[in-house]
Amino acid sequence: MGLKAAAKEIWTRLEDRPVLRSAIAIGGLLGLGLALVLGLAAVGIVSLRFLADNATFLAVPALTSLSATLLSFAIGFAGAIPMGLVRAFAPRILRGEGWRRAAFAPLYGAVTSYVEAIRGTPAFVQIFLVAQVSGLIFPGNPNIPFWGGTLALTINTLGYQTEVFRAGFQSVGQSQVEAAKSIGMRPVQVFLHITLPQGLRLITLPLVNEWVGLFKASALLAYVAVPELLWAASYLGNNRSHPIEAFIMVSSVYLAIIVPLSKAVGWWERKHRIPGLGVAERTVGVGRRRAVVAAGTPAGGLD
């Protein structure tokens, strides 16, 4: 069997086994990392001794990074649902007339400006701004860096998640809404039972992307004195004169959190994917271009 045929055979076998595929990817990543570290150690750039001595140094900072990210993501999520709703559906109301129009115009304007302001300025600038302001309001409070930083991340992710939800709500078809109305659902019920569950399924993966981006952006909190991962790594690097080791360590921690999480959510999403809803995509065959077929379609089942 030639090399090409062997590769094809392996790919075919892996195709329907996402968990195994993820395991191989993670294994490969670990192998590469290990090879890199050992190689650098062999030429004397990296001290294995230092790595071993400080192996647990980043545990508490990792928790700090995680709590800031999880907290701000959760609050942003809750706020993004109503704000995404306004972004998605206010334009239609604004085309109408009467009191609704008068009520929604300022609301839509406010939410849209907020989103533009967040997306149009660097996260770094937003974090500095919030840190400075909260430092002025609560001078000398030792918890202020963390809470100010978390607030800054919340403000940031709220803007991005609002747009994710807007896209999700808008991709739920008008025919679905009409059908729900036709069986007597009230607008709130249409939203809760149709638009929200369908929209959430469509935006699971974009939301994971946002979480990963936010977690990485939380590194910026190091610059406003939050004792999180990057801050701790800088401390380790500068005070103990082993910056390369410190940054290898902190990279591993980010990877160790992000890769399994996104793989797990991807796996969960595939497992709970509903036939015909959203990106029903399954790759078949090998080659540079992959053919795409609808998942879950029985042979001849669609007309």
């Binding site: 025919s175 009409e178 109305k181 036709s182 019920q189 149709i194 369908q198 509903i274 089942g301 669609l302």
Partner: protein, 241 residues
């Protein structure tokens, strides 16, 4: 049962319904025919208030329903609707599609709603497809689930908006059979369709619409075999041609 009196509807400058009136008696099937763009779908949507009429009255069972004091949600529970493109909820399987109205609108308990939903699926011949998602069903099966979903709420009448137009020919029959059975059981129905066979055999009355007005109305024999108006003659000649 359903009375439409002098209903007008504008979409912007477009005058879609220009004073439409009709009457459907309890247990009757009214078939509405007419060229596309004649306002048939808008008329149906006015009856269950998916579209609010600008002028005129919709009266269901003696109640004027296009009245600010009447909740449109209440009206839509009385009058079911079946859509051209089925519009099944894509995230719910067949059983849940039928159940959701019973659970959320009628506020039934899960066991009762499930019993009733299974009964409705049985009625349209799809008891064995309860667990299938819409994307796993053929067009004909989807439309029958949609009929079951409308019937589950025990409506006084059902509106059908070109229920077979989006179907491949081999699936049209199964949907028409379900509708015929429903008419025979005495369901009050308003059906917009191009299926002349169905109109001929099942309709009690046929109504021909063009350009937002009712051109002619009568029994199937009157409208199809002895149309009085020139426009009706031209249209009927074309579709029966």
């Amino acid at each position: 049962m359903i009375t439409v009196q002098n209903v007008h509807k504008w979409f912007g400058d477009l005058h879609v319904l220009k004073g439409v009136s009709l009457q459907v008696n309890k247990g009757d099937a009214l078939v509405v025919i007419g060229p596309s763009g004649s306002g048939k779908s808008t008329l149906l949507r006015c009856i269950n208030l998916l579209v609010q009429p600008d002028e005129g009255d919709i009266i269901i069972d003696g109640v004027k329903v296009n009245d600010p004091r009447i909740r449109p949600e209440w009206v839509r529970q009385q009058v079911g609707m079946v859509f051209q493109s089925f519009n099944l909820f894509t995230h719910l399987n067949a059983l849940e599609n039928v159940m959701i109205g019973l659970r959320k609108v009628k506020r039934m308990d899960r066991a009762g709603a499930e019993r009733m939903a299974r009964f409705e699926l049985e009625r349209v011949g799809l008891a064995d497809k309860a667990d299938a998602y819409p994307a796993q069903l053929s067009g004909g099966q989807q439309q029958r689930v949609a009929i079951a979903r409308a019937l589950a709420l025990n409506p006084k009448a059902v509106l059908f908006d070109e229920p077979t137009s989006a179907l491949d020919p081999e699936f049209i029959r199964e949907v028409l059979d379900v509708m015929t059975k429903l008419a025979e059981e005495g369901m009050t129905m308003v059906v917009v369709t191009h299926e002349m066979g169905f109109a001929h055999n099942v309709a009690d009355r046929v109504l021909f619409m063009a350009d937002g007005v009712v051109v002619e109305e009568g029994t199937p024999d009157e409208v199809f075999d002895r149309p009085q108006k020139e426009r009706t003659q031209a249209f009927v000649g074309k579709i029966l041609g």
